[in-house]
Amino acid sequence: MAIDRETVRRVAFLSRLKIDDDKIEDTEEEFNKILNWVEQLNEVNTDNVEPLVSVNDTNLTLRQDEVTEGNQAAAILKNAPQAQYGYFTVPKVVE
């Protein structure tokens, strides 16, 4: 399935990435090249094959829902590009 320019724009927005207008055509072409290549998987008969989500045979284990490493606010904010009053700060969201 070939994808068009609009789809490239939509996927870029879903990915929160900006593609310059003069790069859209190249991106579309490259995308289609890659999709064509992965579509060789359609040659494989996968009727009655269960998808493999994880190679681990073990199931996830349950644990008590309790705080194990609390009170880390300072450490968590240490790398924040902007923080104030113990919070991350962001550009204004609500007018």
């Binding site: 290549w37 998987l41 996968t46 998808p51 924040a80 550009p91």
Partner: protein, 486 residues
């Protein structure tokens, strides 16, 4: 006399125990080597003060006889591992200046065993690449380069180059589609990707979580065994880490391989396979045969579908894992008028071309209407690829293949840059192993006509690294690669 930096972990540890030299002296020797060899661009951050501080403590431990398994051994750490208070960027602009406030499980195990950290090693951005050329800090130069600078392979290119050029005793790597094994082959060193779940992924920057595994990259097979023993083990902080016993991997070295069944997959010898690589593969087969191993022809019929499967699953997982880089909590922020613009500006400025490409492919294959056609289809083929290995292992104990269809190529190679798929094809022999979750090692077997290292790959059953170590130690002795270096 052998230079201190040429010693293996095992040799250095024995000499440290006998007080032939101190951990501080050993560490200083590596620091000198790092200073002399900056041209390889292997380190993106050098931490000599940290390493010397650790070495002083190690010398005290040796004096008191309380030394650990890696006491006083200076290591290089791939920049994908979170190291407390030491900058960790995954070689991406988007993690500029990030100093983790916690230590990854694997690096804390190494520290607890007495190892010292010389610095953070260069790699492809977020481990996405096979040549170290996608690093924000520029490509690593392969120490085997002659006239033209060659790639060190990727994504763990800095790790492979640093070990090959004696800029650390050994290094950590990670492997999602071949990122330990291919650079090991390109740089003439030994590296093992253990079984999925063997090493904790906690604190390792995530790329494709169902495929990522940590592993050691070393000067020889014994060092891989020593280091993997320290790195392995169940960790409640990683829900995919396996609750299985960790055997003493060193105990498998030098065991008799008589009667061992070695599987040779016909699909790994496609028409047009580089004749030299095929010849060294045959040489490896002959070496094992001469030691009484039995050669068994096997088939892994879905091999040709492994790469397209990988290039759906890995980008899908990456697009999800990399959603966290939004300029909000850490790393690079590029402001914008609104919140969404801040996300878009930060991510557009912070990610490189290959990472953006994979995020977009991943976003597409997971998006409504395409999920079944691509992602679900790939997961089904993934099961068939794993089943191929399960079937093969009913006939053999271990599988021998080449590691890579090529040797190290020049930095900036036109054909690789022109079409991303050309670069991806280099992982053709390594990627199935990640999809199946199996352990595999690359070890050097010889040099090509133009003097570049070639590697062979040993693939084992799940949690049977032991048979890999047993077989690898036999091949290593017969190939005598390191002896030929002088």
């Amino acid at each position: 006399m052998t230079k201190l930096t040429e010693l293996t972990i095992a040799q250095a540890r024995d000499a440290l125990k006998k007080k032939e030299f101190s951990a501080v002296e050993l560490t200083k020797a590596y620091i000198d080597e790092m200073n002399d060899k900056r041209k390889y661009n292997a380190y993106v951050l050098e931490t000599p003060d940290v390493a010397l501080e650790q070495a002083k403590k190690s010398d005290e431990k040796y004096a008191h006889g309380t030394d650990g398994a890696l006491e006083g051994i200076p290591l290089g750490i791939k920049d994908l591992y979170c190291t407390k208070d030491i900058r960790t960027t995954a070689c991406s602009h988007i993690l500029d200046g990030f100093e983790p406030q916690y230590e990854s499980t694997v690096t804390s195990k190494l520290l607890n065993a007495g190892a010292g950290f010389l610095g953070k090693l260069n790699m492809d951005e977020f481990a996405m690449g096979g040549s170290n050329e996608t690093s924000y800090y520029g490509p690593v130069v392969n120490p085997w380069s002659k006239d033209v600078p060659l790639v060190a392979g990727g994504s763990s290119g800095g790790s492979a180059a640093a070990v090959a050029a004696n800029m650390c005793a050994a290094a950590t790597g990670t492997d999602t589609g071949g990122s330990i094994r291919q650079p090991s082959a390109f740089c003439g060193i030994t590296g093992i990707k253990p079984t999925y779940g063997r090493c904790s992924r906690y604190g390792i920057v995530a790329f494709a979580s169902s495929l990522d595994q940590a592993g050691p990259m070393c000067k020889d097979v014994r060092d891989c065994a020593i280091m993997l023993n320290v790195m392995s083990g169940y960790d409640p902080k990683d829900s995919t880490s396996a609750k299985v016993e960790v055997p003493n991997f060193e105990s498998f070295l030098n065991q008799d391989i008589k009667g061992l069944k070695i599987g040779i997959p016909s699909e790994y010898r496609p028409e047009g396979l580089n004749a030299e690589i095929a010849a060294f593969w045959d040489k490896g087969i002959e070496m094992l045969k001469a030691r009484g191993a039995e050669i068994v022809n096997i088939s892994l019929p879905h091999t040709k579908y492994a790469l397209p499967t990988y290039y759906i699953i890995a980008p899908a997982e990456a697009s999800s894992n990399l959603a966290r880089y939004d300029g909000l909590r850490y790393g690079l922020r590029v402001n914008g008028e609104h919140l969404d613009n801040m996300y878009i500006n930060s991510r557009t400025a912070g990610f490189g071309t290959e990472v953006k490409r994979r995020i977009m492919i991943g976003t597409y294959v997971l998006s409504a209407g395409y999920y079944d056609a691509y992602y679900l289809k790939a997961q089904k083929v993934r099961r068939l690829i794993r089943q191929d290995f399960l079937n093969a292992f009913e006939k053999c104990d271990i599988i021998l293949t080449p590691t890579s269809p090529v040797t190290a190529f020049p930095i900036g190679d036109e054909s690789m840059l022109e079409n991303p798929i050309n670069m991806w094809l280099n992982d053709v022999f390594t990627v199935s192993v990640n999809l199946a979750g199996l352990p595999a090692m690359s070890l050097p077997i010889g040099l090509s006509h133009d003097g570049l290292p070639l590697g062979l790959q040993l693939i084992g059953k799940a949690f049977d690294e032991g048979t890999i170590f047993k077989t690898a130690s036999a091949l290593e002795q017969d190939a005598a690669f390191r002896k030929g270096l002088k």
